[in-house]
């Protein structure tokens, strides 16, 4: 056998290759495409959470950052035991957005070490499954941060964040999803960029401003002296709309942006 090369003259035959066998591909588990997609998402999320459980790097840094943020604002916006009106809603969402940015950057920085992102891109998994797997991992981490930050904001700002718990959870879930959906896409895009730490917030905040505004206004409606439930539901609907748009766009664009 002589592998042909168009540029002749410099090809060196060094040893006679053995007879070619034609081995079958490794046996794969036969499952439906949907099951395979779901398994890929699950495995990527599970791997991210396992790595995080070993290091606790993102969890601790984001919690520390979010708690620091709330404490600093508490000193500024609570005078003689009385918080500035509507401050709690804004500070809650600022803490989520800032700590979320930190988590997004670190989640993809990990894939850059050892170039494991390239291994994932070569693997026969759909690019949207890779995106959703990473997104799910980030959402779980941010949910853990919110479990600590929401009661802290309620305590420091005397905010009745649990009066309408279901609506509050809905606002937090929808707002966090919208923010993380865009953030995961941008963090993946910037993973090879030299100035990624600077570029991520520069790109992310202008796009996610509608999500943050909707989250703040919806939360403020719940925290008003007489909770404005219809207004909170309207903002929640707006957040769900943003989520659908952002997740759809991210799934659509993830494959081209990850192919050089």
């Amino acid at each position: 056998m002589n592998p042909a090369l168009s540029k002749s003259g410099q090809v060196v035959e060094e040893s006679a290759p053995p007879a070619i066998e034609q081995p079958a591909a490794a046996r794969v588990t036969r499952v439906s495409p949907v099951t395979r997609f779901a398994r890929s998402v699950f495995e990527i999320t599970r791997k991210d959470l396992l790595v995080e459980a070993r290091t606790r790097e993102i969890l601790y840094t984001t919690i520390f950052f979010a708690v620091s943020c709330v404490m600093v604002f508490a000193f500024g916006f609570v005078r003689e035991g009385r918080p500035v009106q509507d401050a709690a809603a804004g500070i809650l969402w600022i803490a989520i957005a800032f700590s979320g940015t930190l988590a997004l950057g670190r989640a993809f920085e990990r894939e850059r070490h050892g170039e494991t992102l390239r291994a994932l891109l070569i693997a026969p998994i759909d690019r949207p499954a890779l995106y959703l797997g990473k997104l799910l991992g980030i959402l779980i981490l941010l949910a853990a941060v919110e479990v600590l930050v929401v009661p802290l904001v309620a305590l420091m700002f005397q905010a009745a964040l649990f009066s309408h718990a279901l609506l509050m959870i809905g606002l937090l879930a929808a707002g966090t999803l919208g923010f993380a959906a865009v953030g995961t896409l941008f963090a993946a895009m910037l993973v090879r960029a030299r100035s990624r730490d600077v570029m991520l917030p520069v790109l992310l905040y202008p796009i996610t401003v509608p999500v943050i505004i909707a989250g703040v206004r919806g939360t403020a409606a719940l925290l008003a002296p007489e909770a404005d439930l219809p207004m909170a539901r309207a903002w929640l609907s707006m957040l769900v709309f943003f989520d659908v748009v952002f997740v759809t766009l991210a799934l659509w664009t993830f494959e081209p942006v990850m192919t050089e």
Binding site: T29, G114, E115
Partner: protein, 213 residues
């Protein structure tokens, strides 16, 4: 999807104004080890990335047997294994967890048997539950090779696989590559270390400034 050769036809790749590959044409066939020789910056890694479908050529064509590289998708990628200079391992996970994760995302059956076999071939059975960050370069390299081979790829791409290995580790790597060749794999490796590939490769080609010489 399967194929028995990798064919590059007039492949050019530019990064801005820099031309990393310039009209490169070559064919590598099943059951052979092809070495891409060249100095740093010659375009070897770019060529491997194109062969791995990670990079699109600026012009030219890449064929995997009868299949066009652009239309391959997940089916084509399931037949490619790659070992990069950075090894593609999660340092925070154990040796077994790394192999298990990749076996699962490749959708392989009998995952635990494959993990055990891979660890045994890498000589890491006793360290299976140790995290990779505590491994030496040679141990990581052996594990990374098993990671790249866990799905029995048709096309095996290796970027400077001998870097940082002692002579015993080099011997082990050469033996593993010979067994992959005997199993019918197309092995394409880059190196600038001629001594490391002596009596190993079937074909050697040189890249100089993005051109095949």
């Amino acid at each position: 999807m399967d194929f028995d050769n990798l064919r590059l036809v007039e492949v050019t790749r530019t990064f801005g104004r820099r031309r990393a590959l310039n009209k490169v044409s070559m064919t590598a066939t099943a059951g052979t080890i092809t070495a891409l020789l060249g100095h740093n910056g010659a375009g070897k890694s770019t060529l491997l990335s194109i062969a791995a479908t990670l990079l699109q050529p600026s012009s030219g064509e890449v064929h995997f047997g009868a299949h066009d590289g652009n239309a391959g998708g997940a089916g084509l990628r399931s037949r490619i294994g790659m070992l990069g200079h950075d090894l593609y391992l999660y340092a925070e996970l154990s040796a077994a967890e790394n192999l298990r994760f990749f076996a699962k995302i490749y959708g392989l059956d009998d995952v635990e048997r494959r993990v055990d076999a891979g660890l045994e071939r890498a000589g890491l059975t006793a360290r299976r539950d140790d995290v990779v960050s505590g491994f030496s370069r040679g141990m990581r390299q052996r594990l990374a090779l098993e990671r790249a081979l866990i799905h029995d790829p048709r096309l095996l791409l290796l970027d400077e696989p001998f870097t940082g290995l002692d002579e015993a580790a080099r011997d082990a790597l050469r033996a593993r590559l010979r067994s992959a060749r005997e199993a019918g794999a197309i092995v394409l490796l880059t190196t600038h270390d001629l001594a490391a590939i002596a009596h190993l490769t079937d074909v050697s080609v040189s890249l100089v400034d993005g051109r095949l010489q």
